[in-house]
Amino acid sequence: VFLSGLASSGFSLIRGFDPQAASMDAARRLGDVDSVEGLGPVQTLTPQALHEASPNTYSGNFGRSSFPLHTDLAHWARPPRYVALRCIHGAPHVATLVLDGQALVASVGADALRAALVQPRRPMRNGKQLLRLLEPCDLLRWDSLYIHPASKMAASVCERVRVFLTCAQPLEITLLEPGDTLIIDNWRCLHGRSSATEDAGTRRIERVYLKELR
């Protein structure tokens, strides 16, 4: 069932998915876990104030304010295909935002996105590789923070993306109960987080990247 949800809308939500299981075990039931360089297999996400977080993270840039819509690791040549977000401890007033990137492609145009060259904001392995907002394999990438346009033409396309996202209405999904698991096609959908008040500091979500689903 969750596979058909992914195919139709780019994400799938499974409520109360084996809440007793460790996130890694639950993820293995969903698909093949991707080992992502520099990250542990399971990452814990909690709302943090600006001053509490590392500066090269979303919390370090936005604190408890809402996180803008993005795809994970958009500055990588090939970002992880799927993101699984699993609730360990929910917060009723904090939502995960999801937007199907097909709407963005339809609005801005696949040709424009394919032609738009972007670069990581900082060098990686002594260089700044050139990437496309839409790769030939239909890998959509977007991040207003970690990638920058690499040409005037790309700057123009990026501006159109920003305008589109400003008006976009993402779905708001609350991961409230332990085991609530949201699987997002990271090559298709953008996601973000609503703002989190100080009392939402106990929210705890575990993230696992997957390269293939079962």
Binding site: E37, R78, G127
Partner: protein, 236 residues
């Protein structure tokens, strides 16, 4: 949308990969288009576009074809490995060898005429970069072939979009779609050579087609027409 590949996350592309080289060609092409086709800068930057396209076509077969054979560590690097040799700096073959290898690996697609044309164009670049003479002061330089925008039967994606003013990157809608590169690297090369005929001259035209165009002028480009006909024949 097409079926997506399932694959492992990867931090960076190999610098000799077809994707990386093609993207770089595109960026140079954008820079090229920021100049007027009448300017020498347009011609100079076009040689960079052509070089990266040629390298991308070779890399699309295998990045190892770009490795300088004088040091086996270059092959190791091309295979995506990290050499343990101290102070090793990866070195790829020069553009002359790139053209030679293209002739060897795709002889039907990369014809002797195209080879000659591209070699001539790179020769012009060397003259610009290594001597005191300048492209814009050479009597037979870029301006002398008629602007192909004015040619009838100018039917490729590149041609149609060149007619817009100012030219835009949609010029490369097909050119940089990568579908070509994945399936038919020869078309990339065709398009590349086509692109540089845009500002070629009689000598360049002769190198491309093997014919002499004594009567070619800015408003009457027999060479350009020949090239387009050849393109159409090869692309269909």
């Amino acid at each position: 949308m097409t079926t997506k590949e399932t694959t492992t996350a990867k931090k960076v592309n190999h610098p000799w990969s077809a994707d990386a080289l093609l993207a770089k060609a595109q960026r140079y092409a954008e820079d090229m288009l920021s100049h007027s086709p009448e300017d020498w800068q347009f011609g100079l930057v076009s040689t960079f576009v052509l070089e990266f396209l040629a390298r991308a076509a070779l890399a699309n077969i295998s990045p190892t074809l770009l490795a300088d054979p004088n040091n086996s560590n270059n092959f190791y690097f091309a295979l995506g490995r990290t050499s343990t040799a101290p102070k090793f700096i990866p070195r790829s073959i020069d553009v002359t060898m790139v053209l030679t290898r293209l002739r060897e690996v795709i002889p039907d697609e990369f014809t002797p005429e195209q080879h000659g044309f591209a070699a001539q164009h790179f020769s012009r670049r060397n003259e610009e970069l290594h001597t005191g003479s300048t492209l814009d002061s050479t009597p037979t330089a870029y301006q002398q072939i008629a602007n192909p925008i004015n040619s009838e039967g100018f039917t490729t994606n590149a041609e149609v979009n060149l007619k817009t003013s100012p030219p835009s990157m949609t010029l490369y809608k097909g050119f940089f779609g990568q579908t070509f590169l994945l399936s038919q690297s020869q078309i990339v090369l065709h398009e590349a050579v086509h692109l540089v005929t845009y500002f070629g001259d009689r000598e360049l035209a002769t190198a491309a087609t093997g014919k002499v165009y004594a009567n070619t002028t800015r408003d009457n480009s027999e060479a350009s027409e020949d090239w387009h006909n050849q393109l159409k024949k090869n692309c269909h």
